[in-house]
Amino acid sequence: MLTVDRLFKQFPIAGSSKVVSAINDVSFSIAPGETLGLVGESGSGKTTIGRIIVGLIEPSAGSVRFDLPGGRQASGRPPTGKVQLVFQEPSESLDPRLKIGATITEPLQALSVERGAWRRRVRDAMGLVRLDPALLDAYPSELSAGQQQRVGIARAMITEPDLVVLDEPTSALDPTARAEIIDLLKRIQAERNTAYLFISHDLSTIRFISHRVAVMYLGMIVEQGEAATLFSQPHHPYSSGLLSSVLLPHPELTMESAVSLKGEIPSPINLPPGCFLASRCPFVIDRCRVEMPPAETVGAGHSVHCFRHADVAATRPASKTFEAFMAEAERILGRPASQPARFVPKATERNSHVRTS
């Protein structure tokens, strides 16, 4: 449905002949009803890719192609309303002076939808994201962060898009609100077969929602593949290092990894020759410093840019940590079958720091 082919983006630096190489040869595709998770640290180029796809910025080279239902093809800028964007900070991406209803309606103006249909469409969109219709006349400041993000999603969904770019949509939210938004997005996808490009730095959220995952580092997709496969057996040292930093809320379950990344992401100005990770990589060999590793296929739909991918994969057996955590969650967090018994503390057993007032 979406095919991105050999995309490059360079930003000039004012008053200098140098450029920031934000995107360096990125290719991927997304099928209808599929979620591609785009994960990487700040400065890796995730947001730039999202903005190129929705047509907010032009690529320096490469192509973005949409194959839309009905056989229509579009290159470059997507057809109006078919591709939408949801932003990271819900409080900042909503007009504070505009009522919720007006905010959600705005995209319909661009689509020249008949005015008579607006009211119904807004109510449908609010229903889709489970927003109370009573909030139609509320202002963004009256809403919680989770509700504000539902408004952002309703505004995107009202045009019935085929693809939604979600740029860190849950990063500003508390865990419970985050989980609600993810559930909501999955439900909408099941109902409407919408495709998502889900951009996040949070691997556990990415694992939660994505069918496939692309790992970005310094403007490159260093590895992409099925979410379950990539998370259990990463082939790129950077993916492996990222995974080892995931902290699940279970003291006995850690993401075992041979890779612990030192230092920070280098500057995207005047990129080094060879592999961009070479300066931080424990697997580095001389060849990495002079030659960029090409994409190699290591499994069905699984590709990686690393000369030593076989060694990286061989450092540890495939991890079942996420699966183990989900099983533990069922055991520890399940709702008890019956109401727990009343707890009457004994006064003598009370702790010194525990008081009854």
Binding site: P175, A179, S244, P249, L261, E330, R342, P345, R350
Partner: protein, 335 residues
């Protein structure tokens, strides 16, 4: 159930004298524009032992930052302490005159905050900002203070520390600026460090490095830490004990293994279920929030799937469910 952390400690009647810092019944109120007041902390009880890393988790608005600042005797403006004590080494620091309190802050009690660039003075070199702490609080001369600052930059693993001494904050990356703020907090060898969401703005690989560093420095200096965060996952791996804050009250506090493997409060269960991929699990702990309960009710009763009439009539105490495991609930989950 195994308790890996703190198992060597006696489980019976904890010795009050053993606590390094104890918060007792701390209440903080904020005036409202309507002329009334809003209670943000409703009687917090919390104790931290020497060398211990105590986690405090809660969602936005629970009162985490208010607690961090109030422990240092400086609640966020215009809040004020309306009751309770903060006992540090046997002394109520909230009763100290401001002059003595200022001597304690930054010296024996330190805080690390997020957004390091906002905390650092943009016009002063990093080395001077760190050295100032040592000369003010430890009375070191300029040369000795600078030497100590350099040692501190090395300890927080800033690459090329000699050169970075002369750098201005804008010349540092976010991760390095956060390390500089940690260096400022730790240069006087504080006995107690509060980390208020100090790693939240960092990338995950940098966050992992900063956490390692904080733990190593705490162990080396024998200092205790209150580690405040909204990221529940970090506390499962980084903290010895964890307290759960909801709407200005501690709902549950336990050794980390007990809290994560045998959570008892319905709110703790809701927080942890947010990490499960099974929506059914979450829905079991979530009910549409209803009208705010009366002051006599359990503060969580409006959102609690297990709430009974008793919960709306009578607020439960924070009481001991098992050794070192306290819960504020009439009907805690026990498995």
């Amino acid at each position: 159930m195994s308790i890996a952390v703190g198992a060597e400690r006696p489980v019976a009647a904890p010795n009050v004298a053993e606590d390094l810092l104890r918060v007792e019944g701390l209440r903080v109120v904020f005036p409202t524009s309507a002329g009334g007041s809003r209670t943000v902390l409703r009687g917090i009880d919390l104790s931290v032992r020497p060398g211990e890393i105590m986690g405090l988790v809660g969602e936005s608005g629970a009162g985490k930052t208010t607690l961090a600042r109030s422990i240092l005797g400086a609640p966020p403006v215009p809040g004020r302490v309306a009751g309770g004590r903060v006992v540090f080494r046997g002394r109520d620091i909230l009763a100290l005159p401001e002059k003595q309190l200022r001597r304690l802050r930054g010296h024996r009690l330190a805080i690390v905050v997020p957004n390091p660039r906002g905390e650092l003075n943009p016009t002063v070199r990093i080395g001077d900002q760190i050295a100032t702490m040592a000369s003010v609080h430890l009375g070191l001369d300029r040369k000795a203070a600078k030497a100590r600052a350099l040692a501190m930059l090395r300890a927080v693993q800033i690459p090329d520390p000699e050169r970075r001494m002369n750098a201005y904050p804008h010349e540092l990356s976010g991760g390095m600026a956060q390390r500089a703020v940690i260096a400022i907090a730790l240069i006087c060898d504080p006995a107690f460090v509060i980390s208020d969401d100090a790693t939240s703005g960092l990338d995950v690989t940098v966050q992992a490095q900063i956490l390692d560093l904080l733990r190593k420095l705490a162990a080396e200096h024998g200092s205790a830490m209150l580690f405040i965060t909204r990221d529940v996952g970090i506390t499962a791996h980084f903290c010895d004990r964890v307290a759960v804050l909801y709407n200005g009250e501690i709902m549950e506090v336990a050794d980390r293994n007990a809290l994560f493997l045998a959570p008892a409060h319905p709110y703790t269960l809701l927080l942890l279920a947010a990490f499960s991929h099974n929506p059914g699990l979450r829905q079991g702990w979530s009910v549409p929030a209803s009208t705010p309960p009366s002051p006599a009710a359990c503060i969580y009763s409006g959102r609690c799937p297990l709430a009974q009439p008793l919960c709306r009539d009578e607020k439960p105490p924070l009481a001991e469910l098992g050794p070192g495991h306290a819960v504020r609930c009439h009907f805690p989950v026990r498995r």
